[in-house]
């Protein structure tokens, strides 16, 4: 039972990170109806920027912040330069462009930072907590991860719910023509959406990396998990993405813990196909038909 509790807690901690990553896919999908397959690679690249700074002796939190800013800028630049021209074209073109971004950043990181495993320092202790004498595998680091994601989500919520900027972003995502007529600068809003997604993705990347070994391909699985989490939540709902992230986090943790670490990704694939075939609008969809 205690094992099960431990796995569940770890699963939730992992799930929050997946949720953060799913959120940035949702952020972009809502605004531009594009899935950014390059998101994981962008995040990985910013993580390496942070690692490089730390290795040069820069303060940990400063490096952390630098990576987030880098994620923000990379997201904005990508939207402005290469996504804007394909936003209106056939959807397959946009998919191909984001895949190009994906392989570009993975290769660039291998060239600049080396293709070997490097350990990324943890912000907090990695030994398990033991409240009241019960030894848990939940670590202070996990609590930090959960807290970081929750703070980021709250910030996003405040932005979208209570600020004019957020309202404009929602308007631009909802109906470009109408928003433009009402004086919203739709182009800037889309760029901002991508930039925020870049920042969020960067955060998820840093949280995954904390206390672990990183290499240029370490985010490959996260793009799959994040995508499936986002699809579970219906691809355009923020709460849906969080729930989807938790479901995937728990599934992968149980699978790794109980038997089959190698088959985790295939299990996630099965979840994805089951979702798309049975409830293509996600778990919380009303009966609105959606073309998948």
């Amino acid at each position: 039972v205690q094992d099960f509790l431990n796995f569940t807690l770890t699963g939730i901690a992992v799930g929050f990170v997946y949720a953060a990553f799913a959120l940035c896919l949702v952020l972009i999908f809502r605004a531009t109806r594009i899935i950014n397959f390059g998101q994981g690679a962008q995040a990985m690249f910013t993580t390496f920027i942070a690692l490089d700074l730390i290795q040069r002796g820069v303060n940990y939190w400063l490096a952390f912040a630098a990576a987030l800013v880098a994620g923000f800028i990379i997201g904005a630049v990508i939207e402005r330069t290469i996504i804007r021209p394909v936003e209106t074209g056939p959807e397959i073109n946009a998919v191909i462009v984001t895949l190009g971004v994906f392989v570009f950043f993975v290769a660039l990181a291998s060239i600049l930072f080396g293709n070997t495993l490097q350990s990324f320092p943890a912000a907090f202790s990695r030994s398990g907590l033991s409240p009241g004498g019960v030894q848990l595998t939940l670590r202070p680091l996990d609590l930090f991860n959960i807290a970081a994601v929750l703070i980021a989500m709250t910030a996003l919520l405040v932005l979208f719910r209570f600020t004019t900027l957020g309202l404009q972003m929602r308007a631009a995502a909802f109906g470009q023509e109408v928003a433009r007529l009402l004086g919203v600068r739709v182009g800037s809003m889309l760029t901002l959406g991508w930039a925020l997604a870049g920042l969020f993705g960067s955060l998820a990347g840093l949280l995954v990396a904390g206390g672990e070994l990183v290499f240029p391909g370490y985010m490959d699985f996260l793009i799959v998990f994040g995508f499936v989490a986002a699809v579970l939540g219906g691809l355009d709902s923020f709460p849906g993405a969080v729930v989807g992230g938790l479901i995937i986090g728990l599934t992968t943790t149980y699978m790794s813990a109980y038997r089959q670490p190698e088959l985790v990704t295939l299990a996630v694939l099965v979840i994805l196909l089951a979702t798309l075939l049975l409830r293509p609008g996600g778990l919380f969809s009303s009966s609105v038909a959606r073309k998948v």
């Binding site: 895949l99 971004v101 570009f104 196909l273």
Partner: protein
């Protein structure tokens, strides 16, 4: 692989088995596609002379190409032979993918994984049943890949665009896990060694009589190219046939295609299955050429490289597929040498090629979304259309004057 059907829909030629069972309501409607293939005859046209029949033309062209390859293999160095052998296993995979994506409009990031199925089937069969004739191994590899492809295809037929890309991406990232999971049978991270096929004595002496010594390397390249050309032959006939027109119709407008009596789901699954079979051939040859089936060869980067190859050639163009495959073989060598010259270490230099693929994918999509061959063909067609218009206008003004 299915029998290629002739270009003429009115002749009761053998149609592929999957299509034969259809209700008879499936009539060919070239109008749906807007641009029927070059082999499609106008309604009511006379039967073509023998030499102009698509099947005959394609057959002669491909036979000529094979002869050209044999002569080329003789003329070049062993190192270039090895590169040509490498190219031979890319061609079927890229051709299959370009047909799937360009003709039928389905994107797949799972073709690296499908190649893995073919390669592991080859390696596993050769390891556990030594002395199995290569033809049997090849057929087995095609069979298993086709089955996997059909299963994936059934799921894929309901998805499109980003959803399909995400699902096949999951397949590409997840499938190598199977090789790690069943370490005893599939060799884990190390993979399985493959003993490549050897020529029979009869063939060896036959070849020696005409061209001279047949090295093992040369033989593999020859087998690979024979298969690659066979695949190209079948595909080129398939895409100019009724099946190909159905695929294009489904790609261009699902509703119109459905109204014309095309079963969209079946058409999609068939396209994915045919494409998977091609990937099976590619995987089998990859195992034979590299003498190894290991999970490290089938990363997501392989799938994206295949995508880069079809994008640069032009979606749906078989000539483009050959050019794309050539890029996959020759570009890494050139840029890696360049990188090493700039003082990068070998693992850094090896990553310049994927870097270029990434740039290629983005730039081609932004600048020339029809790819190399597609853009040239478009320019040519535009010019032709303009000339015809001018001629028409001139004729009219003459009439009036």
């Amino acid at each position: 692989v299915t029998t290629p059907s002739g270009p003429d829909p009115r002749q009761p030629e053998p149609t592929p088995a999957d299509d034969g069972s259809s209700s008879g309501g499936v009539t060919t409607t070239p109008e749906v596609t807007g641009a029927p293939g070059p082999g499609a005859p106008a309604p009511g046209a006379e039967p073509r002379p023998f030499l102009q029949k698509t099947l005959v033309r394609h057959g002669l062209l491909h036979a000529g190409a094979l002869l050209g390859i044999v002569l080329l293999l003789e003329a070049i160095s062993p190192f270039r032979n090895a590169q040509l052998a490498q190219m031979a296993y890319f061609v079927p995979a890229v051709a299959g993918l370009t047909v799937l994506t360009g003709i039928n409009g389905q994107i797949s990031l799972g073709h690296g994984a499908l190649m893995m199925v073919g390669a592991y089937t080859t390696a596993y069969t050769l390891e556990n049943a030594e002395g199995t004739p290569f033809v049997v191994v090849l057929l087995l590899a095609i069979l298993t890949t086709t089955i996997v492809g059909a299963v994936v295809g059934v799921a894929a037929a309901r998805l499109h665009g980003p959803y399909l890309a995400g699902a096949t991406l999951a397949l590409a990232v997840g499938l190598p896990g199977i090789a790690l999971k069943f370490e005893d049978a599939l060799g884990g991270e190390q993979g399985l060694r493959v003993s490549p096929p050897r020529p029979t004595d009869g063939f060896e002496s036959f070849y020696a009589n005409i061209f001279g010594d047949l090295s093992n390397q040369k033989f593999i390249a020859l087998v690979g190219w024979a298969l690659a050309i066979a695949v190209l032959f079948l595909l080129s006939n398939l895409i100019t046939s009724r099946v190909g027109r159905d695929w294009r119709a489904v790609r261009d407008d699902e509703v119109a295609a459905q109204l014309a009596g095309i079963n969209i789901g079946r058409s999609r699954v068939l396209a994915f299955t045919v494409s998977a079979a091609c990937a099976g051939v590619a995987g089998c040859m990859l195992a034979a050429v590299t003498r190894l089936a290991a999970p490290g060869s089938f990363t997501i980067v392989l799938s994206i490289s295949l995508l880069a190859a079809i994008v640069i050639g032009g979606l749906g163009s078989l000539v483009g597929a050959i050019l794309g495959s050539a890029m996959l073989v020759f570009l890494p060598q050139v840029v890696t040498d360049f990188g090493a010259g700039q003082g990068l270490n070998s693992s850094q230099a090896a990553n310049i090629a994927p870097l270029v693929y990434g740039i290629v994918l983005v730039v081609v999509m932004l600048v020339a979304p029809f790819g190399l061959v597609g853009t040239i063909r478009r320019k040519y067609l535009e010019r032709k259309a303009r000339k015809m218009l001018e001629a028409f206008a001139a004729a009219q003004s003459q009439q009036q004057g």
